[in-house]
């Protein structure tokens, strides 16, 4: 780090700390999980980007949805996303969350993930390479600097839209089981 970097960091220490410690919720949602172990271990080493897997969603601020989302998994994704404290970022990994991918005719996979939870970035590919995850992380840093990732704010503002879509696929019982105190907010 040189003088210019230090000045930049001191101007907005919160953003600086948040960018360089994007902790990922450890949730193997779909087949994209096969590229996560190479990324978090020594050969590709995501830790030099500040990205490490975190056991609970309560201590994570990045949610990487790796691969397709089946109906059963969607309920758990919504619950996990709800549990993460603000500010949180959701990045969809793979072609399947974008538009269904290879399984767009399947009766058990959803096609557009951003109608159920807000997605801040997409990584296309089937399977994307580990380099693509690192490019996504560096792009996310720039977007955090430029205040362009406001998925968590959109979620709270448009919660009725998201809950309506979730209820259509997951059923009324799921919506009724969500505690009314969610989503969690951290005052800044």
């Amino acid at each position: 780090m040189d003088r210019a970097d230090i000045k930049k960091a001191l101007k907005d220490p919160h953003k600086w700390g948040e960018k360089y410690s994007l902790w990922v919720t450890y949730f193997c949602t779909g087949c994209g999980i096969i590229e996560i172990p190479p990324v978090i271990t020594s050969r590709w080493d995501a830790e030099r980007f500040g990205v490490i897997p975190m056991a609970t969603p309560r201590q994570a601020n990045l949610f990487l949805i790796t691969g397709y989302v089946s109906v059963k998994t969607l309920g758990y994704i919504v619950t996990t996303y709800d549990q993460m404290p603000d500010p949180k970022y959701a990045v969809a990994f793979g072609s399947c969350p974008i538009d269904g991918g290879l399984y767009y005719t399947s009766y058990n996979t959803i096609n557009h993930l951003d109608r159920y939870i807000p997605i801040d970035g997409w990584i296309a590919g089937c399977m994307p390479r580990p380099e693509a995850i690192f490019i996504a992380v560096t792009k996310l840093w720039k977007m955090i600097d430029g205040e362009m990732v406001d998925g968590y704010k959109r979620y709270k503002e448009n919660i009725d839209y998201y809950r309506k879509n979730q209820e259509r696929v997951l059923g009324k019982k799921f919506i009724e089981s969500i505690p009314s105190s969610l989503p969690v907010t951290v005052e800044t």
Partner: protein, 374 residues
Amino acid sequence: MNRGGTKMDKRQLTLYFGPQHIGMVGNFSITLTVEGDMIQKAVANPGFLHRGFEKMLENCTYTQGFPYVCRINVMDPDPCEQIYAMAIEELAGLEVPPRAQYLRTMVLEMSRLSSHLLWLWAYANELGFDTIGHWAMAQRDYFIDLFDMIAGARVYHIYIWPGGVRRDIPTGFAEKMQQTLGGLEDSLKDYDAVFFNNRVFRRRVDGVGVLSQEEAVRFGVTGGDLRATGVERDVRKEEPYAAYADMDFEVPTMDDGDSYARAMVVRKEMEQSISIIRQVLDKMPEGSAWHRPPNPFKWKIPAGETYVRMESARGELGVYAVSDGSDKIYRMAYRVPSYPHGILVLEKLLQGMNIADVGHMLLSLNIAAPEIDR
């Protein structure tokens, strides 16, 4: 401590070892009924990765089915391609050139090695040996580089197809392969010293999760889990496919049926796979890598049925294929090795164990959740 028979004495909790859990590799869930630390009942909940492959394949022609099938088991994708190709070749009466059979054997053994190294990463991490996890995953990545060279992609290769393989090996491949195999052979000594002969590892796995030979046969267990109970059964020897009839290899077995036996069977299979790949590179005949299949736009296969089977990294992988004389697949039912292991065997073994052993059992039985759900 006697509390005079209050309700606090026997309290059973329901815990969800759910899909979002640091000890869960793959998207799978187990509902545990525990009393203190002891599991009274375990119920496996698959279905998180169900995509309806068998239904989607019924709408596909024989060529269109290719990109789908390798995605059935993401950890070990090439056997799924091979079994699909074998089913179609048997139904359609296609011949495969000898060079392609050798190339298929090599790719299948590479896939077995990467699956075993992925298992080692997960297993070592689960038991607390993070360093071994890093080593194993980095080593596996060198094999993935070789896949990149031969097929153009790291994970889903779509390399084995009816009539042969998609392309021949590029120049420089054989040297890089020998180098990678030599590196793995040297590393196996390190893995032995730090992991497999480690006293802490032995304390953790000796006598844990014992599956007797009689139980294994009764529950339809195949693969390494069966060989760890002493039954020497391997489809590569029973009904040789690809070029296995020309290969000289052993089928390692152990006798105790506990987690240590299963881990050692995987460890010894890695050595056998290295030897098989070396034999393939030595003995590979010249020739073309594939026979041109019929026009894919008009390919109709005569009506019939077949069952083909092979040995994937986890056990007997099979396909029951039915064709009705049209250009689309009528029915393709997959027999996957993790099916009996992941539901009934897991539920039976987890009874009476500690919560700490749940993740351990999942990995010791080498269960792949995407296979069970298809």
